[in-house]
Point group: C2
Chain length 343, copies 2
């Protein structure tokens, strides 16, 4: 066995013209790299006398038996349910789950900066949140495997829904009911990071409106912080427009719940005067009789957990890019637009 | 330093006529043991040549830097919020949180059976769930410190609310409104374990009814599995009575939410025909305009986290038995009984 040299993975990546993630994957025989590329990377690594360090290649040994889950919030239903799904699979494989709540961009950076060096875990599952590029590279270099649940980052194995399709399902439902003036409540990160789910749903909304031949004023897309109160504020804002929408696509059921509260306080009848549709099929959707797009959250967590178990136990995961289907659940908050809605 | 002998903590406990928990506490200079008892236990330990093993006494060294949280569910708001509170404090102290979901009595037993021997953690926080007596003894013997959040077990340090007071706050609210026929929806564990919170709220309910001089038929206390659907079933059961109650105390807001759904489906006006009050001040309580008893869940988690940090860092926690106050939040689901409610 050769000793580790001063050459690092970034040198190999630079010479091969690929990312460090691809180098890491090629040298560890992970899928997602073509045979030609893999062989080329290996030749370059050989030429440079680069050897994957035992630490970096030691994934299969499951040296710590622990997985870190990184979440932007523990007590929001979506993240808690994702954690429950991941934990259920890890537990059966006798792996332990460490939970890290990183609240903002600075904490996120610090977390990803410190985690790899301490070798606390074999793998990290990032739940539906951004991962700074520089920190992703560092994880690659240290051989900490990254799996993404509820989103997509770089070429990491991931489990998610199709957020563009989600937006299409909502817009199609509204247009079939006869709505033409449709708004969207999207959500923002206080630190200004972009979140894949929000970007994709907003993009999908624009696409679907365009495909339906409907005009989309910029002020019909309202951006608020993720929270019930954010949804309430956004609806207040939409109601104050000279010509309010007749239907609203809310980023999530929690955001929709806040919007419903504003409608109730404004004494507007739902769906007679305003239709609203959320996303998730959160338990409150049933309680509020809210029309929504169902996504299987716990199942996504369990699938991400299975990928983690496979990787840690040295197997190639059967599937590395899982996209779970979503479907509309029609309840009592959507209906045809009011008869006077036409200009 | 003397070597560990064959004498174990149970021998010391037996001879001293105290629990192993008390022995453990006395030998580690933890509070909660009188000076006289501590000195007596130490003499007995000396006589028996018992020495706390380095493992068992190594808490202050923070040997693993990890805490295990054991929860009956990750994705129920109460537990997720408690975890968030605990994690926030551990994170600041640079301690890691392992999360274990144990679903039933068998898993609970297996978990507590296996955890100590593996020395994975310095401490365990048990969140509002039963802990088998035998396993508690084992944790004591291995020197794994136990802290309880949202409940009370043996003489462990704990953080909780006063569940008896909660029941009094609800019953007083109902009686002030004029209700005399008051029901309670309590919750059960499928495995038949007793949960401290449920027992105390039920006991408090009986006490408060008695103090108010009100009759309490046995069929006015309905027991259902903890879930929204459980609440719905319980309300259906209460509505089918020859003489239904006019006010219902639900174990939690989630249970109350299910009960509200049943009332809506039965076309009964709330609160005109039926009053309902939950417990928690869960975010859905605001959305459903539900009257409830507020309890500070995240703060309880944070306080439990602080006790854990103090213990692991070798300090005596400032407070070991914290009882957080609760208060009634009156919203739209409680009002006077219907005029025809008198017999």
């Amino acid at each position: 066995v050769r000793e580790q040299t001063n050459v690092n993975m970034a040198d190999v990546a630079r010479q091969a013209g690929v990312s460090t993630a691809t180098v890491s994957r090629a040298l560890r025989d992970m899928p997602g790299v073509s045979i030609a590329t893999r062989d080329r990377i290996r030749r370059i690594a050989d030429d440079l006398s680069y050897v994957v360090s035992p630490e970096a290649s030691g994934l299969a040994s499951g040296s710590t038996g622990r997985v870190a889950a990184v979440v932007p919030s523990i007590d929001i239903w979506y993240f808690a349910t994702m954690l429950a799904g991941i934990e259920s699979v890890l537990r059966r494989a006798d792996l332990d789950l460490l939970v890290y709540h990183v609240e903002n961009a600075a904490e996120r950076e610090r977390f990803f900066d410190r985690l790899p060096a301490r070798r606390k875990v074999d793998a990290v599952v990032v739940i539906a949140m951004p991962l700074p590029e520089q920190e992703a590279e560092r994880l690659d270099l240290m051989g900490v495997q990254v799996v993404v649940a509820g989103g997509q980052l770089r070429d990491y194995p991931h489990v998610r829904i199709d957020d563009i399709e989600v937006a299409h399902q909502v817009v199609e439902h509204f247009t079939h009911l006869g709505h033409t003036r449709i708004a969207m409540i999207r959500t923002s990160d206080p630190a200004g990071s972009t979140w894949a789910g929000d970007l994709a749903r907003t993009h999908g909304f624009r696409m679907a409106m365009d495909q339906a031949g409907l005009e989309l004023d910029d002020d019909l897309i309202v951006t608020v912080p993720y929270a019930v109160d954010g949804g309430a504020d956004a609806m207040d804002q939409l109601l104050s427009m000279a010509k309010p929408p007749t239907a609203v696509f809310a980023y999530s059921d929690e955001v929709a719940a806040g919007a419903l509260r504003s409608l109730r306080r404004a004494n507007l009848a739902v769906p007679e005067q305003m239709s609203i549709c959320g996303v998730d099929n959160h338990p409150i959707a049933d309680l509020l009789d809210l029309t929504t797009v169902h996504q299987p959250v716990e199942a996504q967590g369990a699938a991400a957990g299975q990928i983690l178990v496979d990787i840690i136990e040295g197997r190639t995961p059967q599937q590395q890019q899982l996209v779970f289907p979503t479907h509309l659940v029609v309840r009592a908050t959507t209906g045809p637009p009011p008869p006077d809605a036409d200009r």
